[in-house]
Assembly symmetry: C2
Homo-oligomer: 385 residues x 2
């Protein structure tokens, strides 16, 4: 096991009927910016619960945070923070809204000229407004980590940043609000959480059985519960298990002390930036092909993955590995998420431009061995055409 | 899954060579009470690393915290805190030293007449001195939770308290300092962590696969790594895996949203109080017998435990359960920890006095069904004679 540091300050408030307690979690002295997306929270009752619970708070609303939240939209929120004297942010929504709120929280305290430098130039975040969140779509784990991904529409750049200052203070997770999600969003969330787990697990072999087994536990849970969320959309336990698995998949815990390979995300972000695919759709395209590309390096862990997660006991090592990869792709397809570029109408001729974007973003050393460069990514995309 | 709240503020600093960084973690404005036990930290080099790292801090030492830390000993530390103007506590040692430090931290800020009321009368802890710890013996999980168990020697009472105010701020875990532990302490730690995990897992069936699989992952790790720690005492990875498993077993995570059964601890504490057995020895006596006593209530989970943790695939449900219980007891015995009262020279005639202690402490509703009372505990002890 590698040396590591781990802490996670987010307070999780999990379960039915918890949203109405948000008012108790935020000191009423704060002037709160309530950020949300396209208005689904007004249809499913979440908005009403939040407004009622915060009736004693000074509240300013900012709606319209889009999927793949953009610098262009969030800049308007930053202006609002300044003009209205906002000192606390409450994000209500999925990963996009929460990621957007993190950027606004950091930008509001940023001392440089242009907050986009946080993403484009790695400018350090030294403080941020306090923020909390109410999660309505389990997927990215952003509700209890310091990560955020923002898109600059004008240049088609989709870039991440991380800071300990943007961990949500409180995250309320009520699985019952996910009953009304469209199946596509449910499926995307399951695929996203699955891939996060894989990226912290499926690397070369470091002796860390606790982390391995935790990761395998999340993968098995997502495999069992994911299809049930589509076939039994009102099953509370199913929704709760997926929601908790998605949080645990990216709160930092399963990744302590082990190598990580975030190449699937690196490559996937470029597909979203150029073609507008949902984030999880891009991961479903890249991951199975990346597994095949790196089969030799990752052989020991792929074998363990095949045996423990997929329960494959028969066949040669190579046959078990191939079957594990095939089952992973079949799982994504079963969730309704295609695993090829052509499944989304993207032709192989589009790969050149994707590779050029990776060159532009200097993605020359992806993967736990830092050996996935744009040329290797080209092969991965060609094999996923 | 039940509704739950979860947060854990402790910062974990894990790995080789980390102890020398303790000075950076504690602001040098503090006047620090350095608490430790019988002096083993002077033999294994830990003391020297701590003193060097804290060379710029104002430091007062308090040594001699004994196993099953006593009110009598800790009262002297509380006096020292007051007389020397201490405002920070650093505990260096195993669970006893850290538990003792938590009591001192809470007692120093206690506003009632007698700090023992925190344990004897459940008096609320409303604040505590800040504390951090350097863990030298993986076992209790106290390095990242708000729990503490203190013994009043004069009355033979061994009682727990919990407070969010006594979570260590920083916990340094260097697995290499555990190389020099006596085998008995290594074995005790593995058994303790195993039983903590079981107590949050082996209950009636609530649908919570993430928690189940995390618990199973810890149990499997302890089963695999525990005997290796005895046969390969200098194997760093083995020590690291046990240390991390023991922390994860009782930092609150695996117990969220599920029923819990702490009857093994409840009964075990009385055996330690009256007979001076090591904490883990008492758990090894009680747990297998408690599993048999509650076999019907816990049948579904016992079956899952047998299949997933022990890999038993053949036989009737009852045969799998019986085998799982037998394997659990055999595992403790393999670690050198006997699983009967007679294994420690305690005769069956001692059970009356143990039951009387449980009556005195009003342990009338132990277990996840609150149906383990002193009469049931008597049967459990008789079957473990």
């Amino acid at each position: 096991m590698y040396n590591f540091q781990f802490s996670n300050p987010t307070k999780i408030v999990f379960g039915k009927g918890q949203i109405q307690n948000i008012g108790q979690e935020i000191d009423s002295s704060h002037r709160v910016l309530l950020m949300y997306g396209g208005g689904s929270i007004k249809k499913n009752g979440v908005y009403q619960q939040v407004i009622e619970s915060l009736s004693n708070h000074d509240l300013v609303e900012f709606s319209g945070v889009e999927p793949n939240p953009s610098l262009e939209t969030l800049s308007k929120a930053i202006e609002l923070v300044e003009s209205k004297g906002i000192d606390y942010i409450l994000a209500v929504g999925g990963g996009s809204v929460i990621d957007g709120a993190k950027f606004v929280a950091a930008a509001a305290k940023f001392e440089g000229d242009d907050p986009w430098d946080i993403l484009a130039k790695g400018a350090k975040v030294v403080s941020a407004l306090p923020l909390s969140c109410i999660l309505t779509l389990p997927a990215t784990g952003t509700e209890s980590n310091g990560n955020s991904v923002i898109t600059k529409r004008s240049t088609q750049d989709k870039l991440p940043f991380s800071s300990p200052h943007v961990y949500p203070q409180v995250a309320i997770l009520d699985p019952s609000v996910t009953f009304s999600l469209p199946p596509r969003q449910v499926a995307n969330g399951v695929v996203d959480a699955f891939v996060h787990t894989i990226e912290q697990y499926l690397t070369y072999d470091v002796n860390a059985p606790v982390q391995d087994r935790f990761a395998e536990g999340l993968l098995s849970t997502l495999i069992e519960e994911g299809p049930k969320a589509l076939s039994e959309p009102d099953n509370y336990d199913v929704r709760a298990n997926i929601m908790w698995a998605a949080t645990m998949a990216l709160n930092g815990l399963i990744g302590v002390g082990v190598p990580q390979d975030w190449a699937t995300h690196g490559i996937g972000h470029e597909i979203t930036a150029l073609h507008g695919l949902d984030h999880a759709q891009t991961l479903a395209i890249v991951l199975p092909s990346l597994m095949r590309e790196k089969k030799e390096h990752k052989a020991a862990k792929l074998l363990q993955f095949g045996r423990r997660v997929w329960g494959i006991t028969e066949g040669s090592d190579d046959a078990i590995i191939e079957q594990a990869i095939a089952k992973t792709a079949a799982f994504f397809e079963e969730m309704g998420v295609p695993t090829t570029l052509s499944g989304y109408g993207i032709e192989a001729s589009a790969i050149d431009a994707l590779v050029a974007q990776m060159e532009k973003h200097k993605l020359h050393a992806m993967g736990e061995h830092k050996d996935i460069n744009p040329d290797v990514a080209r092969r991965i995309l060609e094999n996923a055409a």
